[in-house]
């Protein structure tokens, strides 16, 4: 037995005796595998008993003896010390048993299956991390399911305890497998290919011929031929043993290692990320400056330092939107382009650029993505005294694909005609393309500004924004407000075209629809670990290709003197997987070797064709 195998057996076979099963180092036991076992592992294609050492560890898939549960402690010596020793052995035995189970191929396979099963509910049930609004809608709809789902973590499957448990166990299993496999592989690299089995005829591919050349010459030539083809070859006894395709295992280990790198990169990204949204109206000089208060909403990972935001900012100069006007996809967006001015660093110069949907702006390690767009009517409100109480563009939020938008105008500093302090609130819709009075619908007909119209109703009272509680700027809390009424008692509401003014009842003031601006919403995100994830994935891909496309195989050439004084040359090959190419390769090698060990005519009746011997 070659040193390699003794080494590796010592590695993988430890404890088997204790567990009640001897370490079986035969080819067929090698297919026990591990999570790191490569795909093509039809290991041990030849019988274990016949091949002996030759077939072993053509992969480094750990040999898996039967880990039989039971008493690991053995004989219990009398006395306290004996009991302690027994307990120690027992505990150690069980722990080792569990570890062997966890790192076994079967459990790894089970965990993989569980992982894919566990990922399913998250794709069917709304997830807080993906769309919190949908989660709320779901909860409102399903009263009985919600508490159950909440207990099971169904609204955040991918950060739930059970899902984490699956993938953490899987990765522990993976590490528990690739570490020993790596050592084993290093051992194989330091050792030599195992010597030839006694009966080469038993191998999956076999050929033989007779030659006049001396056995030593044949072996030397075989060694040269095999080494010339980048086999690791050495002469062991009466045969040359050679092996090739070690990169398969390298690829295999690299792939699984790379998966760990990707997982780490993902974790880093989750823990140190920050992500926030900001809506900016066209021409708004203030724009956005990267500080916490400037964000409309902000999320960050557990370890993100909120005081350490990079200094940069940008503002929206103008926005181009183009929509399909023809055909079945009328109204579908064709182009969104935000022209922005941005600066970077404490005293950075202003630069201009544009942001598109697939082309984010990169500033100071952050990326600014264009998310959506909409309209902001420019509104001027005059109070009862005729003074301007509010002036500005008010972003209305999209309600449907044709950009029917809803919004509110809050006027906190207002005096009525008697000079009494009060607050005003307007609420309503904006449609970029109104269907006209005949259309019987208030909804927009097209997303571009073809026939912009705004419908508003008005309230007075207290907005409730002085209480110090944060309030949604896009919603009007009418609890403490009264709607303006027409003289006939119906609620006051009016349609406005750009340039038109509505006059509130009883001289309460006016609202002028001055014009329309476009707004764009941006996502500013900072996600470390992206490069690491990319490196990990590329390494995984390379490793995967190596482990699936490279064949590992062994070839033996034996040359012994025959009875008639000629030398009998035998060649045989053994593949890790049942490769169709192995016989071809063996034939190739034989042809190459026959240059130095020319075949003699077969004396026996094996080849009735007399030309047979002269060939090759």
């Amino acid at each position: 037995m070659a040193t390699t195998d003794t080494d590796t057996d010592a590695d993988t076979g430890t404890g088997d005796a204790a567990a009640g099963a001897p370490a079986r180092a035969g080819g067929s036991s090698a297919d026990g595998g591990s999570p790191a076992a490569d795909g093509g592992a039809d290991a041990g294609s030849a019988g274990a008993d016949e091949l002996g050492a030759a077939g072993t560890h053509l992969s480094t898939a750990p040999t898996e003896g039967q880990a039989v549960p039971g008493s690991f402690g053995g004989v219990r010596a009398p006395g306290v010390l004996g009991a302690l020793a027994w307990t120690g052995r027992e505990v150690y035995g069980w722990l080792r048993w569990c570890w062997r189970q966890l790192t076994s191929m079967r459990v790894a396979l089970l965990l993989l299956l569980l992982l894919s099963l566990g990922a399913i509910p998250g794709s069917l049930i709304p997830q807080t991390g993906v769309d919190p609004l949908k989660v709320e809608q779901f909860k409102a709809k399903h009263e009985t399911l919600t508490p159950l789902y909440e207990k099971l973590g169904m609204f955040h499957v991918y950060s739930s305890v059970w899902f984490s448990a699956i993938y953490i166990l899987l990765f522990v299993s993976l590490i528990g497998c690739i570490v020993p496999r790596t050592w084993q592989f290093v051992g194989q690299l330091r050792g030599r290919p195992p010597g030839a089995p006694r009966r080469l005829t038993r191998l999956p591919a076999y050929t033989t011929w007779r030659t006049e050349a001396e056995p030593e010459q044949v072996l030397a030539a075989a060694r040269t031929v095999l080494r010339g083809r980048r086999f690791r070859a050495h002469v062991a006894g009466d045969a040359v043993a050679a092996e090739k395709g070690y990169l398969r295992e390298v690829g295999n280990l690299l792939f699984h290692l790379a998966l760990i790198v990707v997982l780490v990169a993902f974790a880093v990204g989750q823990l140190w990320k920050s992500e926030g949204g900001k809506l900016i109206t066209e021409g708004d000089q203030d724009g956005f400056t990267n500080s916490l208060t400037q964000y409309d909403d902000f999320k960050s990972g557990a370890f993100f330092d909120k005081d350490n935001l990079e200094p940069f900012g940008f503002s929206l100069e103008s926005f181009d939107a183009r929509y399909e006007r023809e055909g079945s996809q009328r109204g579908t967006a064709r182009e969104f382009r935000a022209h922005v001015k941005y600066w970077e660093g404490a005293d950075g110069k202003e630069k201009r650029t544009s942001i598109e949907v697939n082309e984010p702006l990169e500033i100071a390690g952050n990326k600014v993505f264009l998310l959506s767009t909409g309209y902001a009517p420019v509104i001027t409100v005059k109070d009862g005294k005729g003074d301007i109480a509010f002036k500005g563009a008010v972003p209305f939020l999209q309600q449907d694909a044709n950009l029917t938008s809803s919004g509110v105008v809050k006027v906190p500093d207002y005096r009525d005609k008697n000079g009494k302090k009060e607050q005003l609130g307007f609420q309503g819709f904006f449609v970029p393309t109104w269907g006209g009075a005949d259309a019987k619908t208030m909804f927009s007909q097209f997303p571009a500004l073809d026939y912009p119209v705004m419908f508003l109703t008005a309230y007075h009272g207290r907005l409730g924004i002085d209480g110090g509680l944060p309030q949604n700027v896009y919603q009007l809390n009418t609890d403490n407000m009264k709607q303006f009424k027409n003289p006939d008692g119906r609620a006051f509401a009016q349609k406005l075209l750009p340039g038109e003014t509505m006059t509130l009842p009883n001289g309460a003031g006016t609202l002028t629809f001055e014009g329309i601006k476009t707004w764009a919403s941006f996502q500013i995100s900072h996600q470390p670990g992206n490069e690491l994830a990319l490196i990990g994935s590329v390494a995984a891909l390379v490793g995967l290709a190596g482990s699936l496309f490279i064949q590992r195989r062994r070839v033996w050439v034996r040359a012994v003197p025959g009875k008639d004084g000629q030398t009998v040359v035998e060649m045989a090959g053994l593949g890790r997987s049942e490769s169709a190419k192995l016989p071809e390769e063996l034939a190739d090698l034989a042809v190459a070797l026959q240059a130095d060990a020319p075949a003699e005519a077969e004396p026996e009746s094996e080849s009735p064709d007399p030309a047979e011997g002269a060939r090759a």
């Binding site: 595998g33 294609s45 191929m105 076999y206």
Partner: protein, 364 residues
């Protein structure tokens, strides 16, 4: 409407006509394949049964020729030494069936006609996809219709390429053409979308990379899935033949299954396909993540399509691992492969139709 738009409209119409013509020719090919199977059933082959008799499983000797390059550029054909091959212990040493034609001349004639028709239909199909691409002036993968017609095109072209390279794959012709017809039928009826430009979110060169890989993976994995399914039938058939005392396969099952390649060949074919495509599918996943990072600001966001791509990936990983695990080889691994392909199908149709996510474009 300007001139360019009119030209595009024309091209789109030509594309539709070509797709419909391809469907017509596929139907003819379908009929020819059926005829091949029918004529083939008249031959009494019985080779499989004979091979599974207790004496079977002897060593096979094969003599192969090798081309050796000589100095000076010439090549000489040498006879190789005889290489004796042995299959793994425990596996059946069964020869492949004779194919649908069953060795009958008439069956073979119809089989050849079927293959020719398939090639013709594939050409029309390719033409249909190309004109569609020209009419929209971009990669023709902007919606489910375009995705579907390209998917079946790649599957058929892969089949034709395998045939041309001398692989024994004619047996896959009938199921392939049947599903190509189903896929095209679904595409033109349910999924049809007028030729149009892209929504901004899809307007990226990653469309070329990510979607083309997804299509090629799916199409080729389909061939693997068909082979796996047939493996399951053929494997059961061979198992029954192995115990002459047990229940024997019926006449109809025998007629069909004995003409298929051996279970071992089907399994090997399926494995090679799946193992070859798995890295490509991995790349699809990675390319999608890179694109998502560019378009949406995160490379992984648990979007339903992402999740199902991941599930499919893990399912295929399960299959590859199962083949290396004692107790899971063979049938169980094959079931896993079918589950994995079902995941792919759900990812492709189901996610777009039943789940809303970021991968819904142009209606579906």
């Amino acid at each position: 409407m300007n001139l360019a738009a009119a030209a595009n409209e024309n091209l789109a119409n030509i594309s539709n006509v070509l797709i419909y013509s391809a469907m017509a020719v596929y139907t003819l090919a379908f009929i020819a394949y059926i005829t091949e199977w029918v004529f083939g059933s008249r031959s009494k082959v019985g080779r499989t049964a004979a091979a599974l008799a207790p004496t079977a499983g002897a060593e096979k000797a094969s003599t192969v020729t090798v081309q050796v390059k000589q100095q000076g550029g010439g090549t000489a054909v040498l006879e190789r030494p005889k290489v004796v091959t042995r299959s793994a212990p425990g596996s059946r040493d069964v020869p492949d069936g004779p194919g649908a034609a069953g060795g009958t001349e008439k069956g073979d004639l119809y089989g050849r006609i079927a293959v020719s028709l398939t090639v013709l239909a594939a050409l029309l199909h390719v033409g249909g996809v190309l004109t569609r691409a020209l009419s929209v002036e971009r990669a023709p993968w902007g919606n489910m219709y375009e995705f579907s017609i390209t998917l079946s095109m790649v599957a058929v072209v892969a089949y034709v390429v395998l045939l041309a390279s001398g692989k024994n794959v004619r047996w896959i012709g009938l199921p392939l053409v049947t599903t190509a017809l189903l896929d095209l039928g679904l595409a033109v009826s349910v999924l049809y979308t007028d030729s149009d430009q892209l929504v901004p979110a899809l307007d990226s060169y990653w469309l070329w990379i990510h979607v083309s890989c997804a299509i090629v993976s799916g199409a080729v994995l389909y061939l693997g899935a068909v082979s796996t399914l047939l493996f399951l039938f053929r494997d059961r058939y061979e198992t029954k033949l192995e115990n002459p005392d047990g229940k024997q396969p019926g006449a109809f099952a025998t007629s069909i299954l004995e003409r298929l390649p051996s279970a071992a060949s089907l399994d090997k074919f399926a494995y090679r396909i799946n193992a070859t495509v798995f890295p490509l599918w991995t790349f699809t996943l990675i390319a999608g993540a890179i694109w998502a990072e560019k378009a949406w600001g995160r490379y992984w966001g648990w979007d339903p399509k992402e999740v199902w791509t991941f599930i499919t990936w893990v399912a295929y990983a399960c299959y590859l691992h199962a083949r290396a695990t004692a107790g899971w080889k063979g049938r169980k691994a094959a079931y896993l492969a079918l589950i994995a392909f079902a995941c792919f199908l759900f990812n492709y149709y189901g996610v777009n139709m039943f789940v809303t996510g970021k991968h819904s474009y142009a209606g579906v």
